[in-house]
């Protein structure tokens, strides 16, 4: 099937979907589905996996942060803490953003015991630059950290590469968060210090998005969360504030037929006792401060036995499923940003 035919088919499917949805709620109002499909098609699997391998290499060649602050007993019980690396991955992020011609800055905090340095790149909006669409992933990792979270960092870079070829109404901001593994430190500081006339209108956070397993029984869940039993889906978590964004991603995915998605919307800011596990990444500080944010994940340790292990390596990931996740993310961010123009 030629690319143009495929795009037309996608467009028709999208139009049909829009027709159905228009009877209920305008989830994808004004979406230019053909252009969004083209944005998604720009995501290149080979390049994506190549970038991921480079991020992993940066972790391998880095010196771990050290864990002298732990007692011997703590060190023996939480050995993983002694294998956190971050600086070379941050440098790689910054360098790649600069190569794309994006304006890059660091959001530094010297607060002890964990000084942080978030890497921030921007694609300025054309007509509404004060409205910001944010996409983020933490760049610190234990061991190789292929899934957690080189997959998120490589996705960030690939999406930056794709979106930087276009112009958007809103500003698209790419953020590499520091020190997520030690308690969402970088993202908490970023949103805690967030001021100015600009407004974050939507956010998307990646954490562990490369591991998929199509075998039955590979997915675990929690009571009350009806997850499929095969670990081959992308989990998308939102809260009440960001539920519209989750609906938009879900509708776009249905229109563009990209990935198997399981969207879950937590009540309020997600802090109820039964939803604590939904707060385990950098979207949580956004929810807790009333900002819209959705969290994309392969569900990490609920599926991936290599989570926080030396075995979290590139060869354990599923490139095709991972690429589809990144395609869906790119199209969704492009839609949120009011484009492509």
């Amino acid at each position: 099937m030629s690319a143009s035919r495929r795009v037309t088919k996608v467009g028709l499917a999208g139009a049909a979907l829009l027709g159905v949805l228009s009877c209920s709620r305008p989830v994808l109002e004004g979406a230019r589905l053909e252009q969004l499909a083209q944005v998604a098609a720009q995501v290149n699997e080979e390049r994506l996996m190549g970038t991921l391998s480079e991020v992993v290499k940066a972790h391998q060649e880095d010196t771990p942060l050290g864990c002298a602050w732990l007692t011997e007993d703590q060190r023996s019980r939480h050995e993983v803490v002694c294998h956190l690396t971050r600086e070379k991955a941050a440098a790689l992020l910054q360098e790649r953003f600069q190569e794309l011609g994006l304006s890059v800055r660091r959001n530094e905090s010297a607060t002890t015991p964990f000084p942080t340095s978030n890497v921030i790149a921007e694609l300025p909006g054309v007509t509404r630059p004060q409205e910001v669409v944010l996409v983020g992933a933490h760049y610190d990792a234990f061991y190789d950290g292929a899934d957690d979270n080189s997959s998120g960092v490589a996705a960030l870079l690939e999406i930056a590469r794709v979106l930087s070829q276009y112009k958007f109404d809103r500003t698209v901001r790419f953020v590499g968060f520091d020190m997520e593994e030690f308690g969402l430190v970088g993202s908490s500081r970023y949103i805690g210090e967030y001021t100015g006339p600009e407004r974050i209108v939507a956010s998307m956070v990646f954490d562990c998005i490369g591991y998929y397993d199509t075998q039955e029984g590979t997915q675990q869940s929690l009571p009350g969360l009806p997850a499929p039993s095969t670990g081959d889906f992308l989990a998308v978590f939102g809260n009440d504030t960001s539920s519209q964004r989750v609906s938009e991603l879900f509708a776009l995915n249905n229109a563009l037929k990209l990935a198997k998605v399981t969207p879950i919307i937590a009540p309020r800011d997600g802090t109820s006792p039964l939803t604590g596990n939904l707060l385990r990444s950098d979207h949580a500080p956004f929810w807790l401060t009333g900002h819209e944010a959705i969290f994309l994940t392969d569900t990490a340790n609920f599926r991936n036995r290599n989570y926080h292990q030396p075995t979290d390596t590139v060869d354990t990931l599923n490139p095709a499923y991972y690429r589809r996740t990144v395609q869906l993310s790119a199209a969704t961010l492009a839609y949120w940003a009011g484009g492509p123009r």
Binding site: L225, P226, S247, N254, I264, I265, P267, S272, L274
Partner: protein, 185 residues
């Protein structure tokens, strides 16, 4: 330790009710017949959950209600509960059923339960946007350990199931009542 205390407490309650029943039998048969309406104010504690492809709601908590017992046999009741664990969830439950007369008064109820407030919502092809914040379920519940004596009512276990309203698709409600205490007025 806790288990033995609970068993002890249960035994005391049963002995008290049995003793009360025995004393009641000693009273000459001068008492009036069953009252047409016996109103009872009750409080209850337990857990309720509503699960469907589109949502999970419920939690554990407590509530209060009003019951009208007709001729010591038929029951009409309404109660309102507040549940925690999944945000703030309110449950309004209407029930109608029958009970055994006497001191040991197990009951069976037909219930219409509405859950409102916070919930975990799931998007599916059938529900591409979050479902509303109200879910209803029609079900049945049984209270096998229920006792009534001199205007005091106590139920130590209540189990219920129901079918819900998240169409298309099936919703199921589950109820576990742990303790209910009521007093007639």
């Amino acid at each position: 330790m806790k288990r033995s205390r609970f068993v002890g407490l249960l035994a005391c309650v049963l002995v008290l009710f049995a003793a009360g029943g025995a004393r009641a039998q000693e009273v000459p048969a001068q008492e009036p017949g069953p009252r047409e309406h016996q109103f009872t104010f009750y409080s209850r504690a337990g857990a309720l959950a509503y699960l469907s492809d589109a949502r999970t709601t419920g939690g554990a908590g407590a509530g209060v209600g009003l019951r009208d017992t007709l001729h010591e046999r038929f029951i009409l009741q309404a109660d309102l509960s507040y549940l925690m664990m999944l945000g703030n969830v309110g449950v309004l439950r209407l029930g109608a059923g029958v009970q055994r007369s006497g001191t040991y008064t197990p009951a069976v109820l037909l219930t219409l339960t509405s859950f409102f407030g916070d919930r975990l919502a799931f998007l599916t092809p059938e529900h591409p946007t979050p479902v509303g914040k109200l879910a209803m379920a029609l079900g049945v519940s049984v209270a096998p350990l229920r006792f009534t004596h001199q205007g005091l009512q106590m139920s130590l276990l209540e189990l219920g199931v129901g079918v819900g309203s998240d169409l298309p698709g099936l919703g199921l409600s589950y109820q576990l009542g742990l303790l209910e205490v009521g007093t007639a007025f």
